[in-house]
């Protein structure tokens, strides 16, 4: 046991009320749209009305003449002074056809909603008036909307210079070479040929994602001496800073990016580097005035948060006694246009394919992916990054195997869960630690499957249809450099600066940028435990590139894994220094392990009369650095980094119980139970909240939300009337149980949690509905799962039976 762990006091695991809440419940949060600078101008994007059209001309003269309008920019105006994307900082190390584009469309528009012009005005109402006066003459082009047809040789092209609509394709199994992959595929085929049971289905998941309640926004301020200060709704301010430097050719010392302290959710949507950021910075520099853009919900729904959208042709080979043998999946993702930095659309389905095998011990796998460019908004990251569709497909197919061999699906899963870790999956994903069986058994115990089966049988006799569904999920706990460098060309390590103040307070600085996950509180709990002080004496600053160490961003559940581990490492260094100097002052031979930091004091364990208050020793070292030990200087501030040698994971399992009305297809979720391995819990309230939110997001995606395009590529779902999010009345209460295994690779045993969590939800839900409909033999393979789909499946099944 490391001494950090030993000294971690009572604050770890405490259900502490959040430090963030007082300002947020009183309306004193400071979100992007609340920030105002003197002389600030308002920006508004004019966006394409067509999905695919050539821009013949743009006439902005009337708009410019409107009193209050300061500037109007079009693609032609900026093309020569702004570098096009891609730039290396936002370019993954994955081979793909990366489209070239400028922040405003130049020759063509490629999706409904693409920015065509930027209006800058003194008043946002005037900017809206001006938008009506920008006349764009378009020549319509054939629209490419179907990913399968987009890949046909004779398809028109979205990005003509690329010569193909296939932005990315990869075989994830069988090694790097085509020969190795072919050999592997042949081995997999042999297993399929010999298997007792083969399930082979096409699974579809529609276009949906995690739309945060706060849309995007940017506020840029420029002066010729200091350069650019940009406030951006972002999860990764340090990456945005580098991108702005490269694209606008501003010297690095002149760019500071600040993510507002309060952000109204991110969920991946605020992780890419967006073209709008470039334009607002450009306008502020050109006009030497602060310029702010606040995205409308309409723009947001047309541009970001669109994810999932995959077809997975999935096959499983299994033995009749319930051994899962091989998995074969040919995925096809609808990338949309792909013009967003860092992710380009396809990075999500790429990771979705990597994560496909989940927690099961396959002998072999053959996993391939193709990604097609279309005239839709680009896929942008959404919590459960890429693997919401692949996990739905796999978890559904496993139930279908169970039905075929007549085994309880929960039992089939249990028999095939990876029994001990570490383990490397057939797609070469490394699972570092945990105890899947313990998590699973904990779920089963809470769900009480035998009692449910009895209740189900009794209900069936009365003509009522209850069903139970299970699914589980291996999720990334942070993203190691080993994965993030190839995937996003960025490092994964965590970084934190811990600064002690002469009054015994602690300031922590982190370069990630949270949006509601409670980092101020959890970090304070970690620091308070290690220093034996009160969390209220800890202040956490995030997201300002001017004051924080480089951080890869609030992505992929990095806080509980990478960030707090860096904080713990920094605290440990400071404890070392404090105890070295204290031992010297007390004239004893001792080091950190001989001291305890507790209740505001640092106490020598060998003789508890030898002690000093935390504040006094800190003040002594910072303010009175005389009579120091040999070679020691004053001051107490440390920046530490954390990187695990290998990627780390967390694990969860879901159980859903539904009742289906077989006459209407309506279904009601009667119970939702989960079992979680989140490692050492820092604040169970916050972890509970992460799980609740993620599960309901998964349900909302699976049952309600859907981005809809008509045959012209017009977006029909650009408001909350049409893009329906789950309301409180639509979703159940959630029972959470924990079966945690401390992570052996982090200093406190914590795991990063929450990011991938929605992915097991659609499988559990749909499995429950199919279980309820087992007497009819209904097997659903498509989302969204709505009563009309259930009803149609029932009709079809009844028709077949007649």
């Amino acid at each position: 046991m490391s001494s950090v762990e030993k000294q971690a006091g009572d604050w770890l695991g405490a259900r502490l009320t959040r430090k963030e809440d007082l300002r947020l419940v009183t309306g004193q949060g400071r979100y992007l749209a609340d920030l105002v600078l003197p002389g600030m101008l308002h920006a508004l994007f004019v966006r394409s009305e067509y999905a695919h059209a050539r821009i013949k001309s743009i006439d902005a003269s009337e708009a410019l003449a409107l009193p209050g309008v300061v500037a109007v920019y079009t693609g032609a105006d900026i093309k020569d002074s702004v570098k096009p994307m891609p730039q290396s900082v936002v370019l993954p190390n994955l081979p793909a056809r990366y489209p070239t584009f400028w922040p405003l469309a130049t020759d063509k528009v490629k999706f409904h909603g693409e920015p065509v012009a930027l209006i800058v005005a003194r008043d946002k109402y005037v900017a809206e008036d001006a938008a009506e006066l920008v006349y764009v003459d378009y020549e319509e082009l054939p629209v490419i909307l179907d990913p399968e047809r987009a890949l046909a040789a004779d398809s028109p092209l979205v990005h003509e210079e690329d010569g193909s609509n296939e932005i990315f394709a990869m075989t994830l199994t069988g090694g790097e070479t085509p020969e190795g992959q072919a050999e592997n595929a042949a081995e997999v085929e042999k297993i399929f040929q010999a298997a007792d049971v083969v399930v082979s289905e096409r699974f579809r998941v529609h276009r949906t994602g995690i739309t945060p309640m706060e849309p995007r926004g940017v506020l840029c301020d420029w002066n010729d001496a200091d350069g650019l200060t940009a406030w951006i709704t972002t999860q990764r301010p340090h990456i945005d800073r580098l991108a702005l430097i490269d694209i606008l050719d501003i010297p690095g010392e002149q760019v500071r990016v600040i993510a507002p302290r309060d952000q109204g959710g991110g969920f991946g949507v605020k992780a890419p580097f967006y073209r709008e950021n470039i334009m607002i910075a450009y306008a502020a520099r050109a006009l030497k005035r602060p310029v702010r853009w606040v995205e409308s919900r309409y723009e947001s729904l047309m541009n970001v948060g669109q994810e999932r959208d995959q077809i997975n042709d999935l096959e499983i080979a299994a033995s009749k006694d319930g051994k899962l043998l091989a998995v074969r999946n040919h995925g096809l993702a609808d990338n949309g246009v792909g013009t967003t930095g860092v992710y380009w659309g396809f990075v999500m389905p790429f990771l979705g394919a990597v994560e496909l095998p989940n927690a099961y011990t396959w002998e072999r796998g053959d996993v391939r992916l193709r990604v097609a460019t279309t005239n839709k908004a680009s896929l942008t990251p959404s919590r459960a990054f890429g693997h919401f569709p692949t996990r739905f497909a796999l978890e559904r197919a496993i139930d279908m195997v169970a039905h075929r061999i007549g085994m309880e699906p929960a039992e089939l899963r249990r028999r095939n869960l990876v029994p001990s870790l570490p383990y490397t999956s057939v797609t070469n994903e490394y699972y570092d630690s945990g105890d899947f069986l313990r998590v699973w058994d904990n779920l089963l115990e809470r769900a009480d499957l035998p009692a449910f089966r009895a209740e189900q049988a009794a209900a069936r006799k009365q003509g009522r249809h209850l069903g139970i569904g299970f699914a589980c999920g291996v999720e990334l706990s942070g993203v190691a450099s080993e994965l993030l460098v190839p995937m996003e060309n960025q490092p994964g390590y965590g970084a934190a600066t811990v600064r002690l103040d002469p009054r015994g307070k602690v300031m922590v600085f982190g370069g990630d940028a949270p949006g509601g996950q409670g980092h101020e509180t959890t970090t304070a709990q970690v620091v308070a435990s290690l220093f034996g002080i009160d969390p209220k004496d800890v202040v956490v600053t995030t997201g300002d590139t001017g004051t924080t160490p480089f951080g890869a961003g609030s992505i992929g559940a990095r806080a509980g894994s990478y960030f707090v581990s860096a904080v713990a490492n920094a605290c440990q260094e400071l404890q070392d220094k404090i105890t070295r100097i204290l031992a010297h002052d007390l004239q004893i031979e001792a080091s950190r392990q001989h001291f305890e930091f507790k209740d505001g004091e640092v106490v020598y364990l060998g003789d508890s009369s030898k002690r000093k208050t935390f504040r006094d020793i800190v003040e002594r070292i910072i303010m009175h650095p005389i009579n120091m030990p040999e070679g020691e200087v004053g001051g107490l501030e440390w920046t530490a980094f954390f990187e695990a040698a290998k990627p780390m994971i967390c694990f969860n399992a879901d159980c859903c119980i539904v009742e289906v009305d077989v006459d209407s297809g309506n279904f009601e979720i009667r119970r939702w139970v989960t079992s979680e391995d989140v490692g050492t819990l820092i604040n169970p309230n916050i972890v509970d909240g992460q799980m609740h939110g993620a599960i309901v997001q998964g349900l909302s995606n699976a049952m309600f939300e859907e981005f809809v395009y008509d045959e012209q590529g017009q977006q029909l779902s650009a408001d909350f009337e049409h893009y329906k999010l789950a309301t409180a009345a639509d979703v159940p209460d959630i029972e959470i149980t924990y079966a945690p295994t401390p992570c052996p690779h982090t200093p406190l045993g914590t795991r990063g949690i929450g990011e991938g969590r929605p992915s097991s939800v659609p499988g559990a839900l749909t499995n429950a509905v199919c279980d309820a409909l087992a007497p009819f033999g209904v097997e659903l393979t498509e989302l969204p799962l709505r009563p009309d789909r259930v009803w149609r499946a029932l009709q079809a099944a009844r028709g077949e039976r007649r």
Binding site: T17, R18, E20, D21, L22, L24, V25, T26, G27, Q28, G29, R30, Y31, A33, D34, Y125, I210, T211, P212, M213, E214, P215, D262, Q263, G264, G265, F267, S296, R297, Y298, G515, G516, Q517, G518, N685, I686, D688, G689, M691, H692, G693, A694, I695, V696, Q697, D719, F720, E721, L725, T727, A728, A729, V731, D733, I734
Partner: protein, 162 residues
């Protein structure tokens, strides 16, 4: 332009406003009461902009500032009295009823009104009462608990009557 007189959180404001100015923009941009948020494009669905007009919850993105002329508006900034949080505000913190906090002011305003009319609501009634407020972070579980607990506290404070 029209001159309006609106009482906001107890103070009277007399302002010249364009007829088309939305109440939410009047509150946020003119009075700098930025606790009232905007979550949808003035379609009245998300509820982030909810305030009280003469004590009743309304969506301030669906109203013009001129329509508030002569009325009393309360925003989230006016919920705490003499630096004491309301029972609902306290319950939201205690039960972790908020994550990013973007939806929270609107939910607090709506539920404050709701509890006045229904001091002892069931979970189902609370969930239906929340239909006009979207929250993306919490899954609503802790929100429902917070409202229920605030109702209990309020009932105890008023002697359990009603």
């Amino acid at each position: 332009m029209k001159t309006i007189s609106v009482t906001v959180n107890g103070s009277v404001f007399e302002e010249d406003v364009p007829e088309r100015l939305l109440l939410v923009d009047f509150l946020r941009d003119r009075l700098a009461l930025t606790g009232t948020h905007v979550g949808c494009t003035h379609e009245g669905v998300c509820g982030a902009c909810t305030v009280h007009l003469d004590g009743e919850a309304v969506k301030s993105c669906m109203m013009l500032a001129v329509q508030a002329d002569g009325h009393a508006v309360t925003t989230v900034e006016g919920l705490a009295r003499d630096d004491r949080l309301s029972a609902l505000q306290e319950a939201f913190a205690r039960h972790h009823g908020l994550q990013c906090g973007y939806c929270t002011p609107g939910i607090l305003m709506n539920m404050t009104d709701f509890l006045t009319g229904n001091p002892d609501p069931s979970e189902d009634e609370i969930r239906h009462g929340l239909i006009g407020n979207l929250c993306r972070c919490t899954g609503y579980v802790h929100i429902v608990r917070a409202v229920k607990d605030a109702a209990r506290v309020l009932r105890e404070n008023t002697g359990g009557a009603r």
